[in-house]
Amino acid sequence: MVQETLSRQAPASPIKKIAQRLEVRMLLLALLIAVCLSLLSPYFLTKSNIFNLLDQSVVIGIVAVGMTFVILTGGIDLSVGSVAGLTGIILGLSLQHVPIVPAIGIAVAAGGFIGLISGTLITVFGLAPFVVTLGVMAIGRSLAYIFSGQTAISNIPDGMQAIVYTNVLGIPSNVLFLIVLYLAAWAYLTYTKGGRTIYAVGSNKEAARAAGLNTTFYSILPYVLSGAFAAVAITFSISQLLSADPLMGNGMELDAIAAVVIGGASLFGGRGSMFGTLIGVLIMVMIRNGLNLMGVSPFWQGTAIGTIIILALLVERLVSSRVSR
């Protein structure tokens, strides 16, 4: 009897197993895009453009980490863009009064606190993540304008530049930070109780709670991280521009969600990975960069990225229904 039940499905071959992983298919897509772009523009594969690509990935990449955590629990955070804008203004104002490190601390703590509020409203009071973060998005942007007095804060101390323009072993510090962050987030999601709980919460919250997992804490935590990472991301932006504008981070939530989704995460939760998100970020940045190199009007970028997202998901749906059935 047992033998019969077990043999209903033969174990998949290793190659099929690898092909079954969405991230692998998305990696192939990313490589395909890279090959196409390098054929279209000889400048694409030069060393300086590759560093340029990585540099452009930092801000969106950091925000996408928090977004991955949120989406893994089955939630969504629409407020990251305006939280980035607001915490950027908070950072700019703090820098007028305190040194760089405590100022960044204040901004990151403010981002985390906003996430804590969203997460609590969603988890404890049972409100829909979409609605709560939509509200926070409106509040955040409005407060950013009020705190800044509707103008950019431009007297940022030059010391901030050190955050970006320091090379460690030949790698720019912001790119290095991104790599370390992704490794740490991957390790956390894979090897710790909290990481596994986040997957379990997104996959089946009721079962996770019945097994004794702390579903409340680990449903709130991703929103806290998402808010805090939005502040970290905007810190890198400000240190490059040496200016904090209340408009900063506009539309960032869409880029982050797109990156996570292209990376294979399910918006219903439980499925997704840091590796996938990284590829999603790179695909987005490559398309932007490639179109710029080819001199296409920047207004076409939205069309290109939107098409890629929809096509990727469409192909994914068609392929995965064949692989898993």
Binding site: V2, Y191, S203, G270
Partner: protein, 635 residues
Amino acid sequence: MQPNLAPVAEADVSPLLVARGITKTFDRTRALQGADFELREGEVHGLLGANGAGKSTLSKVISGHYTLDSGDLSYRGHEIRLRSTRDALRIGIAIVMQETSLVPDLTVLENIFLPELGRPGRLDYNQFRKRGQEILNDLGQGDSLPFDWEVRRLSSAQKQLVEIAKALGVRAKLLIFDEPTASLSPGEAERLFDIMARLRDTGHGLVFVSHRLEEVFAITDRVTVLREGRTVMNARETASLSQADLIRAMVGAELGAIYERKEAHIQQIDAPVALEVRNLSSTPAVRDVSFSVRKGEILGIGGLVGAGRSETVEAIFGLRPRTGGEVVLNGKSLRGDSPQTSIRAGLGFVAEDRRTQNIVPDLSVKENLLLAHLGAHRGFFCSYASRERKVKELLAGLGMPEDRLMDASMLNFSGGMQQKIIIARWLLLEPKVLILDEPTKGVDIGTRASIYTMLRDIAAQGVALVVVSSDFEELLGLSDRVVVMSDGRTTADLPSAMLDEESLTLLAAPRTSMVRNTEMLNELARAHDGAGFWGLIEGDRLICLNAVASNPALDPGFKAGEARELAATRIPEALRRREPVFVAEPDGERTTLVVPMTSPRGHDLGWVGLSLPTDRPLPAPETIKSRIDTMAATL
């Protein structure tokens, strides 16, 4: 015609519906693999089978909920293909399910004519009211439904009547009743049978899905039995069959010993109490629940659907807030504010619904197995390695090769294997008490026996088991002792050896019927200053269903929910003789009338007794008997 059909008595009865070679597969479970079925006009046809035999699937194929994979369906001689319930309704096929198709916030009338709401044009409520009244009159239930009430305020029996009226509102000719008596008291079930008989007499074809054999004999004309998705007994006349025939067909000869248990286990266990529940409440579903379970004991919790069994165990485990009472686990009070504290205290809980409450589909089999470990574990990392030895041991016990652990999804396994992995998830933590809610739901009958064996082995290792089940047969076969719940209260706590399915059904009757019975007993006792009781008598034992004493001196020596040897009560003589006269006890203290209570359809509902003092003139036994019969008619 099929060769294995029983000889047709009247050749002119044309089949209303014929199903041949129906197959239906869900994911990897073959629910139906070649089922045949034939229904005539003007008959009640019993569709039987053990849980998981495919009777519900077949009903839903006929009613258009599922589309069949292969096979033929013909209705009134025409081949039909049903793509939806709407298709089925249009040609006159309706299914009466457990409250699922009603809209609780709409009124009774709107629910009956719900299909009309989808049509264009104005709604004519007066017309609805007139037609609704006609339908109810035809059913002989003229005044039993308040048309303007919202459906949420109705009892389960009334909701069912709405479902039936709704089917007749679209002039359905074929009605399927899927386990219609699961939440009804015996009296309500009888009323349903009256309605079904009327429908049969007006030429409707009725399918009656059930696993309660006595009901099948009471109402059906012919019977079809399914086993593991196949028809094993095709349209036999009910009158030509015995209970044993049906059981053999349902279970299959080789599985007769499915509930086989060690004799030693039936004996009273003197082990220490592992879990004690005192006056637990969690409003509204749980009102007053008390029981205890000893180490190594299997305790069953039984009751009808909606009695509050699942809610009780959830409140014990901490998944549902408590509003009162106390739970003591191994001598320590268990707060029950979260599953985590309960798990760390040594409690395990296999929730009722495997798919929504137990399995985490995106985690691998290994992580699913280790999920409760993760919940109980203190620390930053997963520490899966610390359980490696125990995991290996459990896998060997389950007969599962180790490499299957890395399978990405548990959903590729059969229901039985999934359930074993979920049970193993808790065994890994070596719990002191393990609660299982419907442990064999959706598990095919072959694998059930191995789950029962697994549970008995767990109990034999000293774990206290609490098993909640709607399947009375399973409850009696598996557990050492059964606690019965009704309307959120424990109503009985008896060794399972003393119970059978019928006595369980009566003990589990909804509180409403108990209230009526209590009223009558109270009136009788008060009018004559005596004591009354209602109970079942089997051999030399009495199971008391209800007892009231207006005169404390006449207390019969047992309380509701208790079982006693007849000789151990204070009225042994009357209970032994059970004659239609007052019987005085030898000690001369009291005299007792014990009369049988039967429903209007002749169904045995046990015995009602009235004890009176001997020093007063006695009332005529006939008047008492007629009061009892009147009450039985409304039970």
